[in-house]
């Protein structure tokens, strides 16, 4: 089935690129979403199966695929709306690359081999850069150049990590690089090489997870790409970066370097929070503000993994909920741009008055993203801090809470300014009332999911998360 999925995605992507008829492209995108949905149901039905040797439908991949599919539907819809007020010159290229990006992310979710993951991550760089350059402006070119340059460097670094892994595996007589084989044989491997491999993989894939030290790639990409793509990059792609690191982490968790890996993750997480807090305080560009918020979340996820215990569960739950909140905020930023024609916080204002539905999305989104009840993120973050208290990591706890306070202040200050304050603009406000409230429905649905999770977490999700972390030490 996964072969059928990839072939369908390829045909539909090429169709969108070459047929060059807007109505047909829309139909092709509709078919792709149906394929994506069907594949998601198929994965649920065939949990644990391996196809084409290199793909296993495991629990973590299933969770992230479900999130990706739901967000993809909204991304496609908002993409159509995005083009409704723009020239259609790049319409076909955009949608062709979009199919490629979603299919590449899906492939990475289920790849059961280090090299297969790496190939799909590489594919996301190619398709992602096409989408980031979409606006063809000087700043889009700058973001694309940085994206390609840093991602290629990151991929090369991750490849060095894979080489070190291959060396250690050769040393213990293993000739393949599947995560299963690595997990079984890694305990007898050279710990120094394993440490180097993990470090390289972490740094390399941090380009995709938007985690310190290579987080800048995602920040620039998010700010320059069209808002639906920003939503996809900071959700589906971030989850892909996480899964790429998490699988190596899980495979090496039975080795003597386990506690060392945890320390590294905590350090990287704290540095991510520090950078996010620093930049959020001076951020004046709405989409970059959201991108730095992603850095905050990935930092928390890294800390959560490093702490272990209930932190594993919290890390995955946090990523799921973050995806829904961040996607809705990115879609809303795009709509705000259509109405106010600016991304600058200073120039935006009175949004609640101008477009009440959008203002409500920002307001509820702010509550959700800052983990204020009834946000589901509150539950996830509470679990993280609980695990920090239980493990006696008081320093990490106090530092994280302190940095989070700065981030919450910065986000609240800017978002509230956008929705309630009078904008600082020269001359008359440029307002295009082109957004209908129904176009904001997807944002409300996603935020509704996040709030729902504060009160009830479906058993199927709880089971899938528990299965995902079953291979980790208790």
């Amino acid at each position: 089935m996964i072969l059928v999925y990839f072939i369908s995605a390829l045909i539909l992507s090429l169709g969108a690129l070459f047929i060059k008829k807007k109505s047909i492209t829309k139909i092709l995108l509709g078919i792709f979403l149906l394929v994506q949905l069907t594949f998601t149901f198929y994965v649920f039905e065939n949990a644990g199966n391996t196809e084409l040797i290199y793909f296993t439908f495991d629990a973590l991949g299933t969770i992230f695929l479900t999130v990706l599919t739901l967000i993809s539907i909204a991304v496609v819809y908002h993409g159509f709306r995005y083009f409704s007020s723009r020239s259609t010159e790049r319409f076909f290229f955009y949608h062709s690359a979009l199919i490629g990006l979603i299919a590449s992310i899906t492939g990475a979710y289920f790849a059961n081999d280090v090299t297969a993951v790496w190939i799909f991550v590489e594919a996301t760089t190619l398709t992602g850069s096409m989408l980031i350059y979409h606006k063809k402006t000087a700043t889009a070119l700058e973001a694309t150049w940085k994206y390609i340059f840093l991602c290629s460097t990151g991929i090369a670094i991750a490849y060095l990590g894979i080489l070190f892994l291959s060396m250690t595996m050769t040393g213990v007589g293993i000739q393949d690089l599947s995560f299963d084989s690595i997990g079984k044989a890694a305990a007898g491997a050279n710990p120094l090489y394993l440490k180097i491999a993990f470090l390289f993989v972490l740094v390399g894939y941090s380009t995709k997870m938007e985690l310190f030290p290579m987080h800048t790639v995602g920040i620039d990409a998010n700010s320059e790409a069209p808002s639906p793509i920003g939503a996809l990059i900071s959700t589906g792609l971030v989850n892909m970066g996480f899964i790429s690191i998490f699988r190596v982490y899980t495979a090496l968790s039975g080795t003597p370097i386990f506690s060392w890996m945890n320390h590294i993750l905590i350090i990287v997480g704290l540095l991510s929070l520090l950078v996010a807090a620093g930049y959020e305080l001076k951020m004046q560009y709405s989409s970059r503000m959201l991108a730095y918020s992603s850095l905050e979340f990935t930092g928390l996820v890294a800390i959560s993994l490093g702490i272990g215990g209930v932190g594993y569960y919290a890390a995955i739950l946090l990523l799921v909920l973050h995806a829904f909140v961040k996607a809705s905020l990115f879609f809303q930023t795009g709509q705000m741009y259509r109405i106010l024609n600016t991304h600058l916080v200073e120039e935006s204002g009175n949004y609640m008055k101008i477009y009440p539905a959008g203002g409500m999305v920002f307001l509820i989104g702010l509550v959700c993203i800052t983990a204020i009840p009834p946000s589901g993120i509150f539950v996830a973050e509470l679990l993280i801090f609980k695990s920090l208290v239980y493990s006696g990591n008081w320093f990490v706890l106090i530092l994280s809470l302190g940095l989070l306070a700065f981030i919450i202040f910065a986000l609240s200050n800017r978002i509230l300014k956008m929705i309630f304050s009078k904008p600082k603009r020269l001359g008359e406000e440029i307002i295009n009332y082109t957004v209908k409230p129904v176009e904001t429905l997807s944002q409300f649905i996603f935020l509704g999911i996040v709030i729902f999770f504060c009160f009830y977490q479906p058993q199927v999700l709880v089971d899938l998360i528990n299965q995902s972390i079953a291979g980790l030490p208790k």
Binding site: L126, A156, L163, Q175, I196
Partner: protein, 209 residues
């Protein structure tokens, strides 16, 4: 013979890190491609014929011919022939390069293992260090691109050092090389060259943090 090639490769790196002419950059990249072919040919002679052909086409055709030709075309297109500003004077660059070589030797020996060739590891690390040094110390985007190509060569040497038992890994590394180089060179020649004529990295700072 292999050691001779490796030493020659190290010399090209020292020359590259101190060179100021763009033509020298592209010529040295071509020479490195040829040397890598020689090293790969000697090192991997027992590998399957198809793999050997793949590696030969990567080193000779891609690294030694196609990439330098594209680089020459870029130089002609942008009409800048010399590095006119660096973050560091040449003497310090030479000093750092030598320190990098020394560190690579020490590190490679510390990491020495029966499955890892120390000489290969040393040169691979030194190549990586030089590539990063070029990126950090030069202001022109063109030089950054050269630094990236040098890092790609380091990755190739690493794969030769570590991936002898898994030829598939070497092929994947080669695919990375081709993929990333084509993408970066392509965007450089088609887009950046026409929009940023001075090609200074400083001009690519519109996106503020």
């Amino acid at each position: 013979m292999q050691n001779f090639l490796i030493v020659t490769f190290a010399l090209t790196l020292i020359y590259l890190s101190n060179s100021e002419r763009f033509r020298s950059f592209s010529n040295l990249i071509a020479v490195q491609g040829l040397i890598l072919f020689g090293i790969a040919f000697i090192e991997l002679k027992e590998v399957h014929t198809a793999n050997l052909i793949f590696i030969v086409s990567e080193t000779i055709v891609f690294k030694a011919v196609i990439v330098p030709v594209i680089l020459h075309r870029i130089i002609t297109h942008i009409k800048i022939y010399k590095v006119h500003s660096k973050a560091l004077p040449g003497f310090y660059l030479l000093l750092f390069t030598i320190i990098g070589l020394f560190l690579s030797i020490v590190l490679a020996n510390a990491l020495s293992d029966q499955f890892l060739d120390t000489v290969f590891l040393t040169i691979a690390m030194f190549t990586l260090f030089t590539g990063l040094l070029i990126i950090i110390t030069h202001k022109l985007i063109f030089s950054h691109m050269i630094g990236f190509l040098v890092i790609e060569n380091a990755v190739f040497l690493f794969s030769l050092a570590a991936g002898k038992e898994m030829p598939m890994l070497i092929n994947i590394g080669i695919l990375l090389d081709i993929f990333a180089s084509v993408l970066i060179l392509g965007i450089f020649i088609n887009k950046i060259g026409s929009q940023h004529r001075d090609l200074m990295a400083d001009t690519l700072t519109t996106l503020k943090h």
